[in-house]
Assembly symmetry: C2
Homo-oligomer: 183 residues x 2
């Protein structure tokens, strides 16, 4: 072969990362194959030597993005104190740069419309996130509630114009999670 297996693996990896960022920013459905390939300096046809279909790409995006979320969660979570994590997750920075942020607020809705294989990968990634959070909180139900509230809050806040209402929503969710954690 004219290109090494290593080169192929690197290209594939680069594609998954670029596609993940584009999908988190603009949505997976509206991220076109040609546009994606051109961001790594390749042409559209080459896509299919790395993935059998767009759906396989989505599967890999979900796997790797949720892995990244797990790592970030572990990094910012310690000593049964979730406040540092909340400050980051519910920040303006996270709202304003979805391409760099957690996949859950950006891609969950589209996963809900995807096939069973994608949902299964999503389920496994989410389970691990729940597991990590659970080690730091009082009980499993608290962990699920925290995930749902933070993901919902970021999603809703992004759909609001920057301003008082947006901030009130974020602050309220932060306060209520911290209040829950104290019981």
């Amino acid at each position: 072969m004219r290109y090494s297996a290593k080169h192929k693996a690197e290209t594939r990896q680069k594609l998954i990362e670029k596609a993940g960022a584009l999908a988190k920013k603009d949505g997976f459905a509206t991220t076109g194959v040609d546009g994606l390939m051109s961001t790594v300096g390749l042409t559209g046809g080459a896509f299919y030597s790395h993935f059998s279909s767009k759906n396989e790409l989505l599967l890999e995006i979900i796997r790797q993005e949720l892995k990244k979320s797990q790592d970030l969660l572990e990094t910012n979570l310690s000593n049964h104190n979730i406040e540092p994590f909340l400050n980051l997750y519910l920040s303006q920075l996270h709202l304003n740069f979805p391409a760099l942020g957690c996949a859950l607020p950006s891609l969950t809705t589209e996963v809900g419309r995807a096939d069973a294989e994608v949902k299964q990968a999503f389920s496994e990634g989410l389970a691990r996130i729940h597991q990590i959070l659970n080690t730091q909180l009082s009980n499993p139900q608290m962990a699920w509630a925290t995930i749902a509230m933070t993901v919902g809050a970021v999603n809703l806040a992004r759909a609001l114009p920057a301003g008082e209402r947006q901030q009130a929503l974020l602050t309220a969710c932060q306060n209520m999670i911290l209040a829950m954690a104290k019981n």
Copy 2:
């Protein structure tokens, strides 16, 4: 004119409702003009005698869908008891029929990518929902937290395969909201 103003208004209304249902089910971006028009027995070109663009349609969908959510919320909420509402909102029925359900889990992510006008309409609709919930709960922060958690829970649950994990998430959110409401 060959068609009455009443006829035109009815057609427009029918389009907004159909498009809302399709967008909640499949996403707004992937809902095509031709496909939409054919569901009401018209052809694609006629769309633009009712809306100046797809964006104007999205604006109307958000306005009317959030109004519907407000009405449903008022109907199922009474006497400072949110349990009946939670039973409905976090039900398998709501998960499985997004076209008939609340617009928030389905359309919020896309509103986050829409223009300022759409976000403004979303903000006003969400404010009213918060207001309604706030009259039945102990404080405004509780109302925001409840909205974020329920919307997040439905969104996440739809992205999971039906099963234990999905049910654990729903049950946990329901329990935690009820526990919050008691304080």
